[in-house]
């Protein structure tokens, strides 16, 4: 409770608040019910990541969205710690999908700040180039025949590129800066 009061006091400074922020978040699939969160804390209690991290607390994320403290969330590296285990989605008594809200916040961070973890840029670039998340070594592809496995299906790179373009992500990907790690002690970027 003390924690909540402290949050409320800290957060009254009007310049920090973007009253429209929650409506922007709510436009994302799965994030529609953010206003229904009544701060019971079930999501944080049942989140494996919250157990091991001082920075990642799903209840707090929901509250900060409701309060409109946009700058505390967008670009915050700790957003990338959610494993998408969906325990919070199943357990929330209010039907709030916190992990979908985190996904919305990640998408918004990437879109607004042009920044993403290095690994996601690598994965997305590989998908764009080859259709697969990993660059398959030639030796592996050859070995499939010897192992009695059919050839790996080819990908339609032309189609994949068109989808990257149509969603506007091609440009985002090309321009995005990256960071390597999320530091568990400070909640900041490493590298």
């Amino acid at each position: 409770m003390a924690e909540l009061q402290q949050e409320a006091q800290e957060n009254v400074k009007p310049e920090k608040i973007d009253p429209k922020f929650k409506y922007e978040v709510m436009k994302h699939p799965g994030a529609e019910k953010i206003q229904m969160c009544f701060q019971c804390g079930t999501c944080t209690a049942d989140c494996a990541i919250a157990r091991f991290s001082d920075f990642y607390k799903p209840r707090k994320i929901a509250r900060i969205v409701q309060l409109g403290l946009k700058n505390r969330l967008l670009g915050n590296p700790m957003l990338w710690l959610c494993t998408t285990c969906f325990t919070c989605v199943d357990h929330c008594p209010q039907g709030v999908e916190v992990s979908s809200i985190v996904r919305a916040l990640r998408n918004m961070s990437v879109g607004n700040m042009n920044e993403m973890p290095f690994i996601y840029k690598v994965f997305a670039s590989n998908v764009l180039k080859t259709g697969y998340v990993y660059l398959m070594p030639e030796s592996r592809l050859k070995r499939r025949g010897a192992e009695g496995l059919p050839p790996l299906p080819k990908s339609n790179v032309e189609h994949v590129t068109k989808l990257f373009e149509a969603t506007g992500f091609l440009e985002t990907l090309e321009n995005a800066s990256t960071f390597k790690n999320v530091n568990l002690k400070t909640g900041d970027q490493d590298g």
Binding site: H28, P29, G30, A48, I49, F52, S53, P77, W80, L81, C82, T83, T84, C85, F86, T87, V89, D90, R103, R106, N107, V110, G111, M116, P117, F118, I119, Y120, F123, A124, V127, G131, Y132, V133, Y134, R140, R143, R144, E147, L149, P150, L152, P153, K154, S155, N156, E158, H159, V160, K162, L163, F164, A166, T167, F169, T172, K180, V182, N183, L184
Partner: protein
């Protein structure tokens, strides 16, 4: 038998790192009369794209679903991540008209349209719902009596419950346990069975997934399991490939072999360890194999 035919969605991680899962799955499915149709072409299900751009992830998933719709076949996956992503996209695009129209406007660029006419199944669903326990029992020629194993169902096969369907209980998953018992092995219970493997965030922080995985391996060991059984390549990588690294990080020793369920079932069906690529596991199941032979 015609109804046991699926479009086989292999995903990316299995062909990249875990041929043992593909080989063993193809062998047991073939013996059970399940026909796998290869993808006419392939793109990633969208799992690692969702966090950076959900519209693109849905478009990639929808394109795969369209390929299945064109062939009029349901999809079979071996990976919880592919299953969860494709199944989730299938559900939300069927239900959310506005979103479907938007994704279809992207798909139009590649001459496709999502209609929502197929179902996405994980191999666990195909074995329980379509092949059925009677047929599985018939094929168990060498019951693994006396073997004690634990299971890790993983997250995306059962959660979120409202999206997944298929009737397992996400709070106390039992479907994989029943499949294990069909092989004649005992399925032991352990603490926190539903805990995530942690793999999805390993690219941004390694320490935290290692802590979570260590906890799981501690619990599995305390339960006296001789092996851990998985049905997802990502979970498998976490507990098998990373096990020696976790042991080093925490200065401890587990030596718990981690088998794909298809390997366990394959052994019970009479396939040899070589057929099932048990030699490709990082933690060698030597003791387990000497016990059952």
């Amino acid at each position: 038998m015609a109804d046991l035919e699926y479009l086989f969605f292999l995903g990316c991680l299995i062909p990249y790192r875990l041929a043992s899962y593909e080989v063993s799955a193809r062998k047991v499915l073939n013996k059970l009369g399940v026909k796998l149709v290869e993808m006419p072409d392939f793109n990633c299900c969208g799992f690692p794209i969702g966090p950076v751009n959900f519209d693109l992830a849905l478009s990639l998933a929808a394109r795969d679903l369209c390929l299945a719709e064109q062939k009029n076949l349901n999809i079979l996956t071996l990976c919880n991540g592919c299953f969860g992503t494709l199944n989730d996209a299938n559900k939300i695009l069927k239900e959310d008209e506005e979103l479907r129209d938007r994704i279809n406007s992207y798909l139009q660029q590649v001459g496709m349209e999502f209609k929502g006419t197929v179902t996405v199944k994980h191999i666990v669903h195909v074995l329980t719902e379509d092949v059925g326990s009677e047929k599985l029992k018939e094929q168990v020629k060498k019951p693994l009596t006396g073997l004690r194993v634990a299971q890790h169902t993983g997250c995306h096969l059962v959660r979120p419950a409202s999206h997944v369907g298929h009737g397992d209980n996400p709070e106390d998953p039992h479907v994989l346990k029943e499949l294990i018992r069909l092989t004649g092995a005992e399925c032991v219970e352990y603490t926190d069975e539903t805990e995530c493997c942690g793999n999805p965030i390993i690219g941004v922080n390694e320490d935290l997934p290692f802590e979570i995985a260590k906890e799981k391996l501690d619990h599995v060991k305390a339960a006296g399991a001789q092996a851990l059984i998985t049905v997802c390549p990502a979970c498998h990588m976490m507990y098998d490939f990373n096990q020696p690294r976790i042991e080093r990080a925490f200065n401890t020793s587990f030596r718990i072999p981690v088998l794909h369920y298809t390997q366990l079932l394959g052994l019970a069906m009479g396939f040899s360890p070589e057929d099932l690529r048990l030699n490709e596991l990082r933690v060698k199941p030597t003791e387990l194999l000497s016990q059952i032979q």
